[in-house]
Amino acid sequence: MPALPASPSPPAQAWRQALLGGAWNGLRTTWELAQVMVPVYVGVTVLKHSALMPWISRGMRPAMGLFGLPGDAAVPLVAGLFINFYAALGAVASLGLRPREVTVLGLMLVICHSLPMEWVILSKMGARGGRITLIRVGVAAVAGVLARFFPLGQ
């Protein structure tokens, strides 16, 4: 590749624009994610210290126990399913689960998140959004149960 001339040739300019555009896009995306992630992080931090959390934790223990997770893990799971992946990320970051638990929860959440919105997008693409959503929930449950038999993380 030749050295860049004083006034960049059109291709070089296009690459520079792509670079700057990408960086700007990244900042804009982060701002959009932050609007979900930060409120959820703050909310879950308050919840964690409130009297409500032990109650949620006890109530959810049987269900989450299927996946080898503590009852608290229901909070990021529900946030991920119904809001989006970034809400789940904020909730997980605040809870301070063990690495193994974060990996199991992460595996379930990467498969199954933002269900209402992605249902719509897949349907608009022409696929059967409802059935795909059902399968996603099923596969996430299978992943969570299977994960108990694997030595994930520490």
């Binding site: 670079l19 995306t29 992630m37 009297a51 992605e118 897949l122 992943a143």
Partner: protein, 186 residues
């Protein structure tokens, strides 16, 4: 139970600031990389090679680009490419089923995985685990999510849609022909 609000505020403020900084460090380089890949038309160039492999799995040339973009970019940010698939209607019904299910389970592979590493998840389990389950369940369930000709691509590519339509037709005949409520869709 009394709550120490000052401590909670410090934890919420400090923790979310750290989280945000970690997200910036992942998302900004990722978006730059994606912009450069787009500028270099890397997906278009790759789709020729990947395409030959995918055709054996039942995906034709028009399905390859949306698959690559969706798997790496994601359903939300790659939504443009996927919605275009819906508008153009060039995909056969079977392709829509396979593509939709695969992408429903596996999309934004790079971004999702990298972001969940922030709170401490293991990349080496997330990525292969997700992809492995995606391949297995797409192979098992794609027929069930394949749309009928009414919602989908009306068999533009010939063979796959015809095969699916006739398979579904057989199923419907077995289930009682026109009397079966679902059959009117096919």
């Amino acid at each position: 139970m009394t709550m120490d609000w000052a401590a909670i505020a410090r934890e919420a403020g400090g923790g979310s600031a750290v989280l945000l900084w970690q997200v910036v460090r992942i998302v900004v380089p990722l978006m730059v990389l994606m912009a450069l890949l787009e500028q270099g038309r890397v997906f278009e160039r790759l789709s020729g090679r990947v395409g030959t492999g995918l055709r054996r799995l039942g995906l034709g040339e028009h399905a390859v680009l949306p698959l690559l973009v969706g798997a790496l970019w994601g359903v939300t940010y790659g939504a443009g490419a996927l919605l275009q698939v819906g508008r153009e209607k060039r995909l056969a019904a079977a392709e829509l089923g396979i593509l939709g299910l695969f992408l429903g389970l596996s999309h934004a592979l790079v971004e999702d995985t990298a972001l969940f590493a922030i709170p401490g998840a293991s990349l080496w389990w997330l990525l292969p685990g997700r992809l492995g389950l995606t391949v297995v369940f797409t192979a098992l369930c794609w027929r069930w999510v394949t749309p009928g000709p009414r919602n989908g691509g009306a068999g533009a590519n010939g063979r796959p849609a015809d095969t699916v339509a006739s398979t579904l037709g057989d199923l419907c005949n077995k289930a009682g022909g026109d009397a079966h409520p679902r059959c009117s869709n096919y």
